[in-house]
Amino acid sequence: MPSLQFSFLIDRLSAFFILLVSVVSVAVAIYSVHYVEHGTHDGRKNLIVSFMNIFIASMVLVIASSTMFSFLFFWEIMALSSFLLVMTDFEKKETGKAGMFYFVMTQLSTVFLLFAFLFIYNATGTFDIQQIRASPLVTSVAFVFLFVGFGIKAGIIPFHKWLPYAHPASPSNISALMSGVMIKVAVYGLVRFVLLMPMELWWGILILVAGTVSAILGVIYALKEHDIKRLLAYHSIENIGIILIGFGLYVIFALSGLQAVATLALIGALFHTLNHAIFKSLLFMTSGSLVNATETRNIEDMGGLIKRMPYTALLFLVGAVSISALPPFNGFVSELMIFQAFFQSAFLGNPALEMLLIASLAVFALTSALAAACFVKAFGITFLALPRSEEAKKAKESPKLMLIGPAILASLCVALGVFSFQIFGILGFSFPIPNMLLIGSLLTGLFVFAWLGLRTTAMKKERIAETWGCGITSQNSKMEYTASGFSEPIVTILKSIFRTQKKSERTYFDNEKVIFKSGKAEIHLMKFFEERLYLPVANFVRKVSLIVNNLQRGDVDLHVAYAFATIVVFLLIIWWFA
């Protein structure tokens, strides 16, 4: 019988996640000091800050709790506080929509978790997480419900829809926390419970497939986004997918007896969790600075900011390089570990499984390459070339604390990447991963060497002039390649996934349709899951509730008639039982 008795247990797993939460929170806190000031939130500043603290505390307590009851308790508090934080600008229309999505989805996840917990309790008679010993049937049912529950919170496709709505709507420091940390709490829950329950192979396959789908679809949807925060949100979906891929690999390998590879995959997944927390928060914070500076979230209206906000640009670049998994930064190392785990699948000895892994591998590779492409777009269009709007022209570098916060994370990105080998050595893992310290120093060394070499040997004369612009009189921002133009080839190639519908109509001067008069063309990208999954369900529920409403619409007579009918039924019941 539950009562408000909380008990906490911190083992290495939870300690790791608590570390993750705290590191990111520190940076975000530093960042928020100035960020909160900028926003026009009148009296809400204080509320934001206080709720932010509740939010962080609740996340730490969720991770630390050792009974399902306290887990749920703080989980609810986490959901509630984050919801209130999302609703900060509650007057905005989009915020309302975001809030609805987020509220419904988070409640849904609670439903699934609660069911799983009570189900387990009913079977085992204890809320203690460590004591989950139950029949395979129970654990399998529990696993499915836990997976859905945590999946919704982590935003794996198809339960992802709240992310791209909630993140743009909420203040950037909050999106940094939510996307950087909160969805990791869901990952923690999944890992924690799956590790404690007797695993089965199909769990691993389910996790792997879900992860793969989320990864590829997440990045593909990110490619077409021009709202920078929504783009980042979709990348969170992608990275959660990558994490799940690693975890799924762990389950599969562990059950196939390849313990070493399994450990590699698991550590890779966890390491990627940490890395994603770091660089995603970094990116969200810097994008928050951008939004503050340019008053828009559309990257089509930015551009040229590298000259106006050089430090922010540098920080964003570090984040972009890390999330694109380029050496020697941290994002690369964790993806490398997962890749290596994939490459070991030759030893599985189960052809069908191996083929599945290979397919997933190919998709994974595509994912990381597309991520790189997407961030070339994000950085290039946002920071490089000429400003695309007046606000962008007038943009100013953000205040110091809004740089220090991200800077901490940026340095962590580099450090975790370069010293990864040593760190794992200290932690007592010996993985066959390359020594990034060597590579990093080689890169820098050769960079400097080449620079010096050029200085000495090559011609020093440099000139800053106008380069050839296809014969235009003067370079202006209209001539630049736009974000949509940049992603157009990929969008066209992947049109079957985007469900792109191109409409074009032309009018001509003559009947032979030769002399073109005017025309317009539009590209409409279908919101597949929203239009095919979410809205239908919502509409169905709404229809049912309308029916129920109309049944009750009426005066006394109708309801007395209902009572009459019911009592007649009662007579039947009595007659039946008597």
């Binding site: 390089v321 490398l336 290596q340 290979i358 070339v376 991963i433 380069t467 630049e480 133009g485």
Partner: protein
């Protein structure tokens, strides 16, 4: 990290550095012959590089420091990458260098900055170039990964030198795996070194060019660096193909004779491959950008078939 390893590194890097431009112009020559032209001299690329080093560097007003660091990042990345692919001497086993994934991502790093520099000046060409380049490289990525996964399956290692050693001692790659995998790698080379039908390095026609468009804004020594790193990339990929398929002459011990032999052997093999590339290039036309997925699909299919064969055999 002992002395021989250091020696290996030095040797390999220098070899790549100095041998790579040769093959660029060699392929040009082959194509020229195919078109009944005389073509440039074999050392033309070296001349170009020397000339570019002597020219002044022009930056666009809109360009930022991205433009300035990109050539250096490229050359640095490629120099490091060239440590990973032993062309003439296979060092004794080591974890320090040779990780195939790291190798691929070093190339990706170079490409990432190249694409950024393409966008930097704000000219239309650059943006077009980097957009197409990223699209293509994204689409070829699965092929590359699966190919190397196939190699890793075959050789039970993810270390390039070890692969070569395996290939040298036991030739596991019997047909048909040989043909399949070589075809895939060949397509990869074509794509990565931006050649027809994917790209056309000769023209500066906006419809066709991709790689050239990206580095359009580069000039002087920076252009030289870009060209050089591109040549090195091509040579490294060729080297992988060569040393896996026919690793004959590849040596493992540091003696002057064996090194000379293997240098000769490698040059011969590389020339052959270059000729094949040239002939292939001149045999087919530049295809539309949106036709390319078909080609990549073919490559992916072949590599997956390779894997299937390895898995079920």
């Amino acid at each position: 990290m002992n002395i021989t390893l250091l020696l290996y590194g030095l040797l390999n890097v220098l070899f790549v550095l100095f041998a790579s431009p040769l093959f660029i112009s060699l392929i040009k020559k082959v194509k020229a012959y195919a078109q009944k032209r005389k073509g440039p001299p074999l050392l033309q690329t070296y001349y170009n590089l020397a000339k570019l080093m002597k020219k002044e560097t022009i930056y666009s007003e809109n360009a930022s420091w991205i433009m300035r660091i990109t050539p250096l990042v490229n050359i640095a990345a490629l120099l490091v990458a060239s440590l990973f692919v032993p062309l003439i001497v296979i060092p004794q086993p080591t974890d320090l260098v040779g990780n195939v994934i790291l190798f691929l991502y070093l190339l990706a790093l170079a490409k990432f900055f190249m694409a950024l520099s393409g966008l930097d000046a704000g000219s239309t060409f650059g943006g077009m170039g980097s957009s197409r380049e990223m699209a293509i490289s994204a689409l070829i990525e699965p092929v590359i990964i699966v190919v190397f996964a196939a190699l890793a399956f075959a050789f039970k290692t993810i270390n390039i030198p070890d692969m070569f050693r395996e290939a040298l001692t036991s030739n596991v790659l019997v047909n048909p795996v040989l043909i399949l995998i070589s075809t895939s790698i060949f397509i990869v080379i074509i794509v990565e070194s931006s050649r027809v039908p994917v790209d056309n390095p000769e023209t500066h026609l906006e419809l066709t060019m991709i790689h050239e468009a990206m580095i359009l804004e580069q000039s002087g020594k920076n252009l030289a660096m870009m060209e050089l790193s591109n040549a090195m990339k091509q040579l490294l990929l060729m080297g992988i193909l060569i040393n896996i398929l026919f690793p004959w002459g590849l040596t493992t011990e540091f003696t002057a004779t064996s090194i000379l032999i293997s240098v000769g052997a490698f040059l011969i093999k590389a020339v052959i491959v270059a000729v094949i590339i040239g002939l292939f290039e001149s045999s087919c036309a530049k295809s539309r950008l949106f036709r390319l997925p078909g080609l990549f699909g073919l490559a992916l299919f072949l590599s997956i078939v390779t894997l299937i064969i390895e898995v079920f055999a």
